[in-house]
Amino acid sequence: MNFSVALDLFPLLSGLLAATTCALLGNFLVLRKLSLMGDAISHSVLPGLVAAFVLAGSRNSGVMFLGAAAAGVFTAVLVEIIKKLGRVEPGAAMGVAFSVLFALGVLLIEQFARQVDLDADCVLHGQLEGLVWYGHPETWRDAFTPQSLAGVPREIWTQLGMLAGAALFVGVLFKELRIAAFDAGLATALGINASAMHFALMVVVAAATVASFEAVGSILVIAMLICPAATARLLTDRLATQVWLSLAAAVLSTVAGYTGASAIPALFNLPAVSAAGSMTVASGVLLVVAIVAAPRYGVIARVLHRRSLARRVLIDDLLGVLFRQREAGEPESSIQELAAAMPGRAVPEAVTLATQAGLVSRAGARVALTEPGIERGVDIIRRHRLWEHYLVERAGFRPDHVHDPAEVLEHLETSPPEGPVADPHGREIPSPPASS
């Protein structure tokens, strides 16, 4: 796409500001299982906004913020009241509070349609495309002249201020927010007022919602409060890292979404689609990618880990069988014999893998342990029999129950305690290989 300073700079910047602000705060919502409070507040600030409009008679940012923040706190308080005094289940309490407030907002908009320069549709998808830089500079050098700055839309300044505010809030209270998120009881014990933190967070979320939704719409706000933080949560266990990753995810989905909104339809000669909607979808796509491909918690990682473990177990089991044959005076075995000894297992694959690893050698259909293979086989059998001994002597297993657990335990890093020279079945427990 062709980037136009006049047409694209501020929509993109506005999206970035909204996304990063929301993502920053979203980390604490997701951790505290309050994800849906973001949803609730972004619906229920509507009546606060309309009331502020009507009272102030203009889109005065200060009054708007007051109205929205008041509505945000009111929502949080209302949810608590319905939950505690009405004994209503938390989910339903939230549902009651935000849907009634939202409906009130919709009705007020219709009622004061003439006074209020707001329509319900723009509340949902925002007006990103309307953020045009009138009188934009020709060169970057001119960007900071008074004339150029005067053309910067008011929304951008509001959002910049909000990002700074949110960053300050999180930066200053990071420790307290973290403790309150993990353990409200501990926080109280340490002298941190957990419920004050809760309401402070709600106020900031409400303010962020208002600052952002005018430009990007409330749906993108909800998405950015949850998706980047959820994505980051799948990538790390450390909260500080999670916050930075969530910001990165927010930036990435904004840029990808904004670019994609015009570039992808253009491929098919179609007109551009809603940028805010497309950013929302991008944040969802990024989350799906994280669910599937996250290094530790991703679906792929878990499958791969399980598979490599299964391979190692397969090779070890093959070596075990070969070693037992060898003990019985059969230094070589055929694939058929091995398959009979390892029912239901992929013996040819095991032989191939073990050959590649240099642990067995093949001559036609005959398979034999190599020198390193013998060493590892000794080790496996030793562990297996030591575990059998341990399970019978220490854990009270019956001797005929220990083979299967020991088959698993022999692959562990941890060794069983040293035992006698014979296993519960009277077989010799070999000494550890000389080299190790």
Partner: protein
């Protein structure tokens, strides 16, 4: 030691003969292993329950007592092992099994009366989509009467005391008219009246030739309330008639010390059971 209740065999022979299914024990648990989130809770558990016996499962917190009950009933997946009811699968014997879940497992602020809850025990007999008929309500009321709550049949369940709620659960299980009962901590936090009522019902059930497996936490009352015992700490430490098995030595084995290497090993086995082929 050996999990089957050998010692009680001869004594129970007469009861067993009365039972139609004398050749099979009501419950036979074989090599059952269960893991939650890859953490093993019980490992390779074996034991049998004979007809007409009251059996306690005891063990420290986290020993896997409730998990064992849930694993028997198929409420948690088993990583390994089998559970047989009268020598067959659970699916075929379902109608002969009754269940008393932990009291805390449900929301007691639910808009039903004590009688409504007891009627739930009859739903299986009533069948799909059919209303609860008067005869079933009478049967349910009779069950409430057996636990001493007939007066409170129409009271909303949140207005019952903890002990009364527990007795409602017991009455519901009675309404199931089962031959084998599983009860998860029925004595937890109940008053003396409830405890007496539960014990009386347990003894009646035993006298009818039914068996009851009870997750129990009060070691003081094990001897007076129960015939057999399963002492559990991730593994079955001992099982058999209470007067033979409930010894200081076994108590020490069950409650003393943690078998760290064992739990690590069990974790590995459970992980393998849940994950790899």
């Amino acid at each position: 030691m050996s999990p089957v209740l050998h010692a009680s065999r001869t004594k129970q022979a007469s009861l067993a003969e009365r039972s139609e299914h004398s050749e099979h024990n009501p419950l036979s648990v074989h090599a059952v292993t269960v893991a939650y989130h890859r953490k093993p809770v019980i490992w390779d558990v074996d034991f049998d329950i004979e007809p007409g016996r009251l059996v306690a499962i005891v063990g420290p917190n986290g020993a896997g007592k409730s998990t064992l009950v849930k694993a028997c009933l198929g409420l948690v997946p088993r990583a390994a092992g089998q559970v047989e009811f009268w020598g067959g699968s659970y699916a075929t014997s379902r109608s002969r099994v009754g269940y008393v879940p932990q009291r805390e497992s449900v929301d007691w602020d639910f808009p039903v009366s004590a009688l409504d809850v007891v009627c739930m025990g009859r739903y299986r007999k009533i069948g799909w989509c059919r209303p609860v008929s008067r005869s079933h309500k009478r049967a349910a009321t009779a069950c409430l009467d057996r636990v001493g709550l007939a007066d409170l049949a129409h009271r909303q369940i949140s207005q019952l005391s903890g002990g009364q709620q527990q007795r409602v659960f017991l009455a519901r299980a009675l309404a199931q008219e089962a031959d084998l009962y599983f009860m998860d901590e029925p004595f937890a936090g109940v008053d003396a009246a409830t405890e007496r009522a539960i014990v009386a019902v347990l003894r009646e059930l035993r006298d009818e030739g039914k068996s009851v497996l009870v997750v129990h936490h009060d070691l003081q009352t094990v001897r007076t309330y129960f015939d057999d015992i399963v002492m559990l700490n991730m593994r079955v430490v001992a099982t058999g008639p209470v007067n033979e098995v409930f010894t200081n030595e076994n108590l020490h084995k069950t409650y003393g010390g943690r078998l760290t290497l064992l739990s690590e090993a069990a974790e590995a086995v459970a992980r393998a059971g849940a994950g790899a082929p």
